[in-house]
Each structure stands twice: as C-alpha cells, then as structure tokens.
C-alpha cells in the first residue's frame, strides 16, 4: 500500500552519533520504545547469547543467520525498521528458515529457552507489527518462497508463506486465475504476512476476505508443533475451523508456513471509470445504484475527497493533467471497476449505469479508460495518495471502519475540531487532512500530514479519531491490524468478555508468550505464562482514553 519513503526530518531524531560521515547524515527512525515509555522489556525473556546463536547456525547454516551486535548497523537495521519508518527495534539476530522443519526447530528452541521472536514477511505492514520492539529474534520468511502446486481445474494454489503476492498472481495467471486480494504493496508483501494480518485491499468488495478464500494453513505453533492443515477442500465441516484463528492474529499465535488459497477466475474484461461528484451523499447513491446495476461485475469502488487530488498532483505527478478536467474540482471522486467475462456485455452495463448517474445528477462528470495505460494512470491517482501525503511532512494514517453513511462525517468532524483550535493549515501543525477509502467495505483512511515530528500531535489526533470511532461503534482498525500502533486502543472496539477470551486463547497456545510479544495486547494486558494465570487490569468495561 505504501512504498518505502524516508520522510523523517533528519535533524530531529538521530539516535546514533556515529551516523555523521563525510557530511552525509544518516538519520534513524525513532525507536519504538521512546514512543511507548510504558512498554518494558519482559524480563522473563532470555537475552541472546553465543550458545543460542551457535544453535541457530547449526540448524540453519551460516548463510541463513544474520547476527550483528549493533542493531543499527546497515546489515540489520532495515529488518528492525518498518516500512513507514515509524517504528524501530533493537534486535541483533535475523533468521532465514528455508522450510517448515527449520521453523519448527527454531520455535521449539526459542520456546524452551524463552527467547522472544517476531515473524517477518515482506515487512510492508503499516501497524509496526512485523518489527521488534526490543531484541526479539526476527524470523524472516523470504526463503520459503516455493509454489508447491496449482490445481488448474479448481484454481486452488498451495504455496509457501514467503511467496510474494505479485509472484503468486503471475503464477496463477498462467492458468487464467488471479489472487483474490490486491494491494499497492503486492510487489513486496508475502502471502503469509497477508494472511497473518487478514489483509483487505482494493478488490475486497468483490472477492471478500481471506477468511473466506483461504482453504487451509500450515502453521508452526510456539512449541514447535507443526499444524498441518493444508486442505484443498472447498467444504470441510469437521470440528473447529482452527485456521480462522491464525488469519489476522498478526504472528502472535504461531508462524504460518504454508497456505492453501482459492483463486478466482481472472477477468477477461476489465473496465474502469472515474467520476466526479459534489457530496458524500451522492457517493453513497452512486454506490447503491452500482450494486443494483452492476451487481456481479462490480469489483472495486474507491472514493477520495478533492484535497487528495492536490496531494497527488503537487507531490507525485507534477505537470500531469488530472484525467477529469473541470473549472473547479468536484468535492469528491469515485473510481469504479468492473470485471467480467464479456467485454461488450460489461461495457454496455457500465455505460448505461454511468448514463443514469449523469441524468439523475448524481455524478457531474466522468471518464472511462480506453486502454491499459489509462487504467494504470487512473489507479495511480488513488494509489499514490498515501505516499504523496508523506511528502508534506511526517504523516499519520488511520484505517477505520463504520457504517457507510458515517464514513466521511469523521473527516468533517475532525477537520472542524482542529480548525477551531487553529491547528489546520499550510503553515499550521496539521498541514493537510484528507479522507479516502473503500466505500464498499465501509473503510475510511483518514490521513494527516504534520509540520514536525511531534508525537504529541499524533496522540491528539489518535484520541480524537479513535474516540469518535468508538462512539459510532466503528472499528479502530478495519484492515491494518493492531500491531504496536494501536495497542491500548483495542478496548475501543472490543468489549471485555471478548478480550478476555482472546487472552485465554493466547495463554493456551503461547504459554511462554514468545510469539510477537508487545503486539496487539498492550503491556498492561500481557499474559503471565506461569501457571496460565492471566494478568490483566484496566478492563473496567468503561472506555478510557490514553493519557
């Protein structure tokens, strides 16, 4: 979803004085622990020693172990840092297992020796869930990249967890299929990571969630047990559907090593249209009508506000004309895509739908892509929004879901709130505030660019956005997961009995708490492994805002 950018104002958070050399200053991302001072390294975890490293070298081979005493060294710092350059840990060890047996040996050993681990796929997550907070050992899945088999009749693909999404898409496309999820990070993200975060993406409105498309998983549990359930059966109601637990659990219950996934037919005909509208109500009308008129062929319905155009135009595509020219920009834009098997059929449906939007004054204008190049440009105006924002200054991003009619109200209320405080404007604290997202899924991305790297600005905005979301019964994380970025806000979207059961499951499956600790559940809620006694406080059932 976001390409690698280094927006951090270099002057501010250098943590290594060694960084200066020949006049070039290498700024470092701020350490995660400085953002969450209440997080303390769990003292029950052992610290890495030579005996441990020797063991890993023996099991994996010299070439599959990267060890550096200095976590800021070039060899290891980028495994410690997340894609957004927001979070950084201090691990000294990265392991590269090549098969499930190796993953099993690693976890068994770590469990016995109480060494904390963090599984890492493509490291493209936006919640800081795939990087260490302290010295957790990074288990990098990139060597496990085999495509085990693809069934041409059913479209079911069985692959290693470290397969890059785009590679998987290319492989199944040879047989006329496609992966059911699509996101900007597809050139780097791993399918195992997508599954561990239950990634959503652009085609969710058509193909649904990974909970539906994943048929089976091969998972290594914290104690080294291999749960092999790589079923290729569409239907199998035999006992509890355990794989659902691991989908979206962000590496806190085990490591996904193999995936069996159902891939839909690759569409023969794709059409894309960009329309301009004057209100969010009109967006909703257009969406409702799209479901009725385009029904089975609708595959994406994205929207963004007019400020987003400025962002992309100024920062990402200077000099390129926006495809929809008008005297002044419309308030909102929507991008809708159809995918089907017959071009003429789909075009007729789409054109008749668009014509009706124009006639009823729901859409004021629009364009339809005529070739692949235009399709790519139209998508670029949507996909480049997040990266464009990071070029104004440190950017804060939210991924919230709620009832569709409320989606844009959050942006308007946020804007009103901070405008009253005089904090929004080109020379103010929040340089830009925009809203965009997947209308069909009720998923809004609200983003703010700030004029300086000040954690307090993030906290103020966090508080407003999450409190508002909770008040309107929304989710504080529609698709990005909790990771470390939203720990403490989990109770805003889930009630105590639910959280209690989550904690019990975690304690049962990972009694020593080695799997990606400090993520999802805030330190206050860390589970004690001793005697399976749960230590959780502050769940009083009332919503509390962070201090």
């Amino acid at each position: 979803m976001f390409s690698r950018v280094n927006y951090i104002s270099r002057a501010f958070y250098r943590t290594s004085s060694v960084a200066r050399s020949a006049g070039v200053v290498h700024g470092r991302t701020r350490l995660s622990v400085t953002k969450y001072p209440e997080l303390k390294r769990d003292s029950r975890f052992q610290s890495l020693n030579d005996k441990h490293i020797d063991y890993f070298r023996a099991v994996l081979g010299e070439n599959s172990v990267v060890y550096d005493k200095d976590p800021e060294s070039d060899a290891i710092v980028h495994y410690n840092t997340d894609w957004f350059n927001l979070y950084r840990g201090t691990s000294s060890l990265v392991l590269f297992p090549s098969d499930t047996a190796q993953v099993s040996s690693i976890l068994k050993y770590c469990n016995e020796n109480r060494l904390a681990v963090v599984p890492q796929g493509g490291n493209t997550g936006v919640s800081g869930g795939a990087v260490p907070v302290f010295d957790e050992i990074i288990i990098k899945m990139s060597r496990m990249d085999r495509i085990r088999k693809i069934d041409q009749v059913s479209g079911i693909a069985v692959v290693d967890a470290g397969v890059i999404l785009e590679n998987l898409d290319n492989a199944v496309s040879e047989h006329g299929y496609m992966v059911p999820i699509d996101l900007g990070a597809k050139g780097s993200c791993h399918i195992g990571g997508n599954i561990s975060t239950n990634a959503g993406g652009l085609r969710y409105v058509r193909y649904g969630s990974l909970h539906g498309n994943v048929l089976g998983l091969e998972v290594v549990l914290p104690d080294g047990t291999v749960l092999e359930n790589l079923s290729t059966l569409r239907k199998d109601n035999t006992g509890y559907d355990l794989k659902q637990l691991f989908i979206g659990s962000e590496g806190t219950l085990g490591i996904v090593t193999g995936v069996s996934i159902l891939t839909p037919q690759r569409a023969k005909a794709t059409n894309l249209s960009l329309i301009g509208l004057d209100s969010y109500e009109d967006i909703q009308k257009a969406f409702v009508r799209a479901k009725a008129d385009l029904s089975d062929i609708l595959s994406a319905f994205e929207f963004w506000d007019k400020d987003c155009i400025e962002v992309v135009s100024e920062k990402m595509l200077p000099g390129v004309q926006f495809p929809l020219s008008s005297e002044k920009p419309y308030e909102f834009y929507a991008l809708l895509e159809t995918q089907g098997s017959r071009k003429e059929h789909d075009e007729a449906k789409l054109e008749s739908y668009l014509e009706s939007l124009l006639e009823d004054n729901i859409a004021k204008d629009g364009v339809v892509s005529q070739d692949i190049k235009q399709t790519q440009s139209l998508w670029a105006w949507r996909e480049m929004i997040p990266e464009g924002m990071t070029k104004y200054g440190p950017a804060i991003t939210y991924d919230v879901s709620m009832d569709i009619p409320l989606l844009y109200k959050l942006v308007m209320d946020t804007r009103a709130h901070f405008e009253k405080k005089g904090m929004i404007g080109p020379d103010k604290d929040y340089v830009k505030l925009i809203g965009f997202g997947h209308v069909g899924d009720g998923n809004l991305h609200i983003m703010a660019a700030t004029n300086r790297n000040d954690y307090d600005l993030q906290k103020q905005l966090d508080d407003f956005v999450y409190t508002w979301t909770a008040k309107h019964s929304g989710s504080v994380s529609a698709e990005h997961g909790i990771g470390i970025s939203k720990i403490g806000y989990l109770p805003y979207s889930k009630k105590k009995p639910v959280l209690d059961l989550m904690a019990k499951l975690k304690a049962q499956i990972d009694p020593r708490g080695i799997m990606n600790p400090y993520k999802i559940f805030a330190n206050k809620y860390i589970l004690s492994a001793l005697g399976c006694k749960l230590r959780m406080d502050v769940y009083t059932g009332t919503r509390q805002s962070r201090e």
């Binding site: 495809p323 929809l324 054109e351 364009v367 339809v368 005529q370 070739d371 692949i372």
Partner: protein, 254 residues
C-alpha cells in the same frame, strides 16, 4: 479563419501496448486473443485534430478505420474523444491488410471526402511499418510532414515541427497535406462520459474495398514469427584468473 477545415484521422485497432505479446504455437503470428485498443500514435492524432477543432470550432473531424468488425470499438473511442463522424472500411481478414493497401483505401476515401488535412500516427505498434502516411502522400501527391512534435494550422498553411536525427526541423506546407504524429506532440485526453454518450449518436458509415474499387491484395507474405533469443543468465566468477579463462574460452572475446 473563415474556411472550415475537414480533417481525416485514420485509426488502427492494435494489441494494447501494455500486453505481454507471445508468439503462437504455430509460429505464424502472435497470440491475438488479448486486450486491444487504439494505436497510441493514432490517439495522439485524434487528440491533435480535436485540439485544432477547439481552436477552430467549425472544423469537422472524420475518423476512419480499416479492418474487421471490431474496428468499430476503436472508432467509438475516436468519436468519444471528439471526432464528429466515423467511417468503417470493413475487411474480412485483418491479417491481409498491409500499409500499401491501407494507403490506397485512404486515398479513395480522401477523394470522396476532400479533406484539408489527414493526420495519421507515425506507425502502428504492431508492425512498426512507418509507411502508410508516406505512401498516402505519394499516392495523393500531397506534401507530407512526418514525425510531428508540434503543429500549427491556419486557413491554408500547416507549420509543423518535426523530430529528426539532428534535432528539430520546422517546415511550412500548403494545405491539403499529410501529417504523421510523433510521441511528444500531445497527451491524449480521456474519453469523457458526456462525450461517450454523444458518441453513440454520431454517424458511423460502412464501406468496403469493393465499394471503393480498391485492390488490397497483400504484396508481402509473413513466413515465420519467432521470439528473440533468450537472454543468457550472467555468471559470477571467483577470481581474476577465472574471469580471463571465461572471457577467452566461453565468451571468446579474448
């Protein structure tokens, strides 16, 4: 600017430029069961005609395409971009059409329609011939300004800047004339919804080579189509001696 201009823009339906082209198993052609769209240089030609029309509103733009029934899709795109009329010269078998045949068909159309200007794309991205515009100029005995990167039209003159090997060359020509477009001439617009709706009502007339009394028998025969030789992987060497050995004995360049 009292006289109204008539511009003919020939457009060709080709495999979309972003598609990965593959040779068919019989090695006689490429796999054409893929996405097609208007030849990018023809899009630029249509765009240029539409811009001229925006400056001189009485201009009439006629899009023409020679090919199978599917060529009508491409004509609809041209109409949606702003062309006023379309002519489809239907040919049963696309593969029989070659630049000379197309040029003869266009000559017949030009003699019927009497345009002031014919703007073509410099070449089609499927055959890369770069011949049709030049042949047409020869057949009609009209002046030609090819590889245009800038076009200025007045009542009777065309001033065209051409991209040539040494740089840029600006020539001035009387009308009627042939212009072929190069990449930097303009950025084609998207087909807007109102124009797509209007396009449905614009006239699209059909014709055939027989009606135009043109013989399009191909003069060239394609014998074989094959992929370029696969790129050999690079090799890593451990030492300078190893490198010298390989350069001498394998690559045979020493």
């Amino acid at each position: 600017m009292s006289k109204s201009l008539r511009i003919i823009v020939p457009v060709k339906r080709v495999i979309d430029y972003a598609v990965k082209v593959r040779v068919n198993p019989a090695k006689t052609d490429v796999d054409r069961n893929v996405k097609h769209s208007m030849n990018p240089f023809d899009e630029i030609a249509v765009e240029e005609a539409v811009r001229i029309k925006e400056r001189l509103p009485s201009t009439e733009i006629i899009a023409v395409s020679c090919g199978s029934a599917k060529s009508q899709e491409t004509l609809r795109t041209a109409l949606a971009m702003g062309a006023d009329k379309a002519i489809h010269v239907e040919v049963a078998d696309d593969s029989k059409l070659q630049p000379l045949g197309v040029a003869k068909l266009l000559k017949a159309i030009a003699e019927e329609q009497k345009p002031d200007l014919i703007i073509l794309g410099k070449q089609a991205i499927d055959d890369d011939s770069n011949q049709t515009g030049q042949m047409l100029a020869g057949l009609l005995n009209w002046p030609q300004a090819t590889f245009a990167s800038k076009v200025e039209i007045t009542d009777t003159l065309a001033k065209v800047t051409r991209e040539v090997d040494g740089g840029l060359e600006t020539i001035s020509s009387k009308l009627p004339a042939i212009i072929t477009t190069d990449l930097r001439l303009n950025e084609p617009r998207y087909a807007s919804l109102p124009n797509i709706m209007k396009a449905k009502k614009k006239p699209l007339t059909k014709s055939t080579p027989e009606q135009l009394k043109v013989d399009i028998t191909p003069r060239l025969e394609t014998i074989k189509v094959e992929e370029p030789a696969k790129r050999q992987g690079g090799k890593k060497v451990e030492s300078v001696d190893d490198l010298i050995d390989k350069l001498k004995n394998e690559a045979k360049v020493l």
